[in-house]
Symmetry: C2
């Protein structure tokens, strides 16, 4: 993982060079994508223009024997937010890419014409294939076509029709252990940037790519063992995730009164039980699906699974809590089978489920369809995949949809839709939504852990006190974590168990021959956020972009009748120098 | 004109109060709308939310015997730009409203439900009528319905379906001397704000409203006479406008190489002659239409006219240069009859012709239709009027359309489309596009006058020198002018003829009993711009919003192979303190 593969799409056909890491040595994942975008992409450039770049980077520990280090970071200037973006995904991509020796693939330059290309990357370098028959292929169709090529040891990184159409809600898909395109760098429209470069898929051949070797193999092995033990010991990472997946949260958040329902009109969904993790796990088991499964080799938490229909046929991977919320409670749809079919379509077309569900909630608010009308939602998703005019509105995200239909209530920050936690009833996550350089993003600083699950401390979710400091600390830690390739869910264990956090630092030190302390890790997170916020400032962002929409301060949320009342001054203090 | 009519739409039915001017005494037109919006609308509020207000204000000299003082300012936070907005229109509205004694009508509060209302305003105050049958009526249908009520001495201020649907490209229409809704406060989506308040039309009964009397009638009469004489003396205001209307510019700008053609791909349109002012005047005359006509009583320039079809039937008012460019050269349509029908539909639905033509140019760029396909453009305009999904994309303006179709080349600043002058070949207007608080707007500081027509000096249009100072001076003068109610076209005369400028100041002094100097007028303009820019800063605008899209620096424009090369530093100096 000591080289960068730069693919220039400016010529008749994409060409490439391999470069040493140079100034980027020691960086990985989000740390690397944000450094490159910040340095190489002019902040005032258009996200779909020739100056933008798509940086695809495995984490620092990806491709090693470390458990759960399979996150792949995708960075660019975001077509959705207009700011810097890093979105990351699980699946096999990070590990294979890292084992092939690449710290990053960079797609850059000005596309000529409308041709689509496949990049094949293996131990011997890169091949480029132009193929007109790729047009509008979905991610699952790409899987059918290329599965034989990337096979069991490889991975595919691809865009569906959404990315090809350069829609602002479009993902970069990454294949899982079964070779299915179920893992997505979902947020911020990163797929549109890949589409703007004319690259339809990247096939990674991992057949002759060995596991990356640490500088100090023995110390690394020992630290990895302690780290894994720590994950197994913590109730969330050791049991909760495996039993119910992320959807364990439906009942928890609904009971807390922070489950955004009917486009953020109320904080509890009467039919929550019908779509809860408990119900889902039971349903999957009764049908013979897998309720506990990893998204990549090396995962020991197994929060994923397979969702099968009543006849036992594969429908989609086990939908995540966020997806089930977005299309479920937020749209008034209490039907796991319907939601699973929506999840499949989102994966197939390459759409972020959070943005899509929030967008449909806005369309429901605008009167385009009724809350609860699952059949119509399926039709709308098909329209997005086909790129009809209505599909293009919806595929451009919640903010554009609100604008086109003339409604105020778009639950967005920096034009990116809020995820499954109402910021009025979990105020810590509201601070993260407001102040993260990424736009509304729960993964940027998951204050829900401390507000609701009491992991890493206890801060009252309904109080406006202590939330700014909580969010900042979590955002700093997360930025560092997003550089390691580690799954964010390890945070539950490292927040509660200092020895597990130390084991992670020990792993990094043993792998790279470093002597980092916890303070150094903190410093790494801060430096990443500094670069990101600096980029956004240069792109024209101000404190006014670090705000929730005004109606979250005006409209009280039942059952707590809470408004978002963390002051602007507090928000501005989160990243004050 | 000493009172403000505040209409609160928050109750079961709109209610109103009349207030004295108070802090707003001495203000009119843009000066008043920008002062009220700046003071009363929170900068971070949503343009369609309850905190926004629509302020409709005649100019300081409107309703008096002053010639050409019929501009009506409409201000709000803009649904298109997100910044402060003043758009003004000719027609009868300003004079009638001023004679009724109102310095402003303010629409404010939170609309309950979806009902539509008519406000009837006369000497005895205001009536409110709820009427479900108003839904989706076009401006000409409203004219048919209400012409008998506002009649010859009154005026109607209304929104078409576009405003009702709260589209970001939607106008507030004002009727002309014939009672037709041909004059529009076009830019920035002001119609959507009126729609968000549920007010479909305001009928002004001017039957018992006397001409406003000056403080010093004799001095006023004398100054007005000198002012009128000055307008008649100047070749542009005295002859050019009457002979060919604003469309005299087609040949002039095309010859200069700054006529944006095919979505700003080149600077000359091969078929310009077919849509020029000379051709248009000849056509109108040969058909028995009026080639020289005022838009309101009191106009002595007569730049308007009537466009009739080959059988002599009314099609639309004489389309303006900007309209003919937007749907003509910019879309590759060299057919005045087709453009006139488009103009009618824009007026009827309540759409800004500049934004609409630029939007269709972007749609053509995206491959949605071919350049030159006038029939398809007519269909698309119908889609906007009906509010189909495609219509909602297009009706949301050029920036949203570019986003939905994934193209970079949207010719916008602050999300507002550029008018009929390419900023690469007339760099002074490029500075105005970039730095005006209104977004890309030629009327905010018409540097074309000095760059091309050599009015008010001579600055080479292709040089980047002197443009910043030129634009600033013009923006300051225009802000003051927009407060008087005077038609912007008087600027040609007052820029070239110091005595005509003095006559205007004398009129203001005689009317209000003041002793203003030219410096004071300048100070007024500066103070208005300060308020506007302060609002935008509070709304989150930065220097990055005072920029043209990057591709204007990257792509050279034929025939001069010019790029926009006024430096960012120069742009930032325009309004530097």
């Amino acid at each position: 993982m000591d080289k960068i593969l730069r693919v220039d799409v400016s010529g008749d056909k994409p060409s490439y060079v391999e470069e040493p890491l140079g100034d980027y040595a020691g960086m990985g994942g989000r740390g690397l994508t944000s450094a490159m975008v910040s340095k190489e992409v002019p902040a005032d450039s258009h996200p779909l223009g020739p100056e933008n770049k798509l940086v695809i980077a495995p984490g620092l520990l990806s491709g090693s024997a470390a458990v759960n280090a399979g996150r792949l970071s995708v960075g660019c200037k975001s077509p959705l937010t207009g700011g810097i973006k890093e979105a990351n995904a699980g699946g096999q991509g990070a590990n294979v890419l890292a084992r092939l020796g690449y710290a990053a693939i960079v797609l850059e330059g000005e596309r000529q014409g409308e041709e689509l290309y496949i990049l094949r990357i293996g131990k011997k370098g890169m091949d480029v294939v132009q193929d007109a028959s790729l047009e509008k292929l979905t991610n699952y169709q790409l899987m059918e076509r290329f599965h034989g090529e990337y096979g069991k040891n490889g991975a595919m990184i691809s865009i569906g029709p959404a990315g090809e159409m350069r829609l602002a809600n479009s993902t970069v898909a990454v294949t899982d252990m079964e070779g299915r395109p179920t893992r997505h760098a979902g947020r911020g429209g990163v797929g549109a940037v890949m589409g703007s470069k004319g690259i339809k898929a990247i096939l990674l051949d991992g057949s002759e790519a060995p596991v990356r070797r640490p500088q100090d193999p023995e110390a690394f092995k020992q630290a990895n063992k302690q780290f894994a033990e720590g994950l197994r010991r913590h109730p969330v990472t050791g049991q909760g995730m495996a039993a119910y997946g992320t959807n364990v949260l439906t009942n928890v958040i609904n009971e807390s009164g922070a489950y955004p329902t009917y486009n953020f009109r109320q904080g509890q969904y009467p039919d929550a039980e019908r779509i809860s993790g408990e119900t889902q796990a039971e349903l999957e088991k009764s049908r013979g699906g897998k309720a506990s499964h990893g998204c990549h080799r090396g995962c020991i938490m197994h929060c994923s699974g397979e969702f099968v229909d009543k006849d036992g046929n594969y429908v989609t991977k086990q939908p995540e809590y966020e997806t089930i919320w977005a299309h479920g409670g937020n749209c008034g749809i209490g039907d796991l089978d319907a939601i699973a079919r929506m999840d499949y379509l989102n994966d197939d077309f390459g759409l972020d489920t959070i943005e899509m569900g929030a967008t449909i909630g806005v369309a429901m608010e605008a009167g385009l369809l009724d809350f609860g009308d699952a059949d119509r939602v399926m039709e709308l998703l098909q329209e997005v995949g086909k790129g009809t005019p209505l599909g293009r509105i919806l595929g451009s995200g919640a903010a554009v949809t609100a604008k086109a239909f003339g409604v105020e209530r778009a639950p967005v920050v920096k034009n990116q839709a809020m995820p499954a936690y109402d910021p009025r009833a979990i105020k810590g996550i509201g601070v993260t939504y407001a102040t993260s350089p990424m736009g509304a993003d729960h993964t940027a600083g998951y204050a829900v852990a401390t507000n609701i699950m009491k992991v890493g401390g206890d801060v009252d979710p309904l109080s406006n006190e202590g939330q700014a400091a909580l969010s900042r600390d979590l955002q700093v830690a997360t930025a560092a974590l997003d550089s390691t390739g580690m799954c964010l869910f390890i945070a539950f264990a490292i927040l509660d168990q200092p020895d597990t956090f130390q084991a992670l630092i020990d792993m990094l030190n043993a792998f790279y021959g470093l002597e980092m302390t916890a303070d150094d890790v903190n410093g790494l997170g801060k430096s990443i956020l500094d670069k990101e916020r600096d980029f956004n400032t240069r792109a024209g962002f101000t404190a006014m972009d670090d705000r929730l929409p005004r109606y979250f301060r005006r409209e009280a949320l039942a059952p707590h009748q809470a408004v978002f009342d963390v002051s602007d001054q507090e928000l501005d203090r989160v990243f004050a120098k």
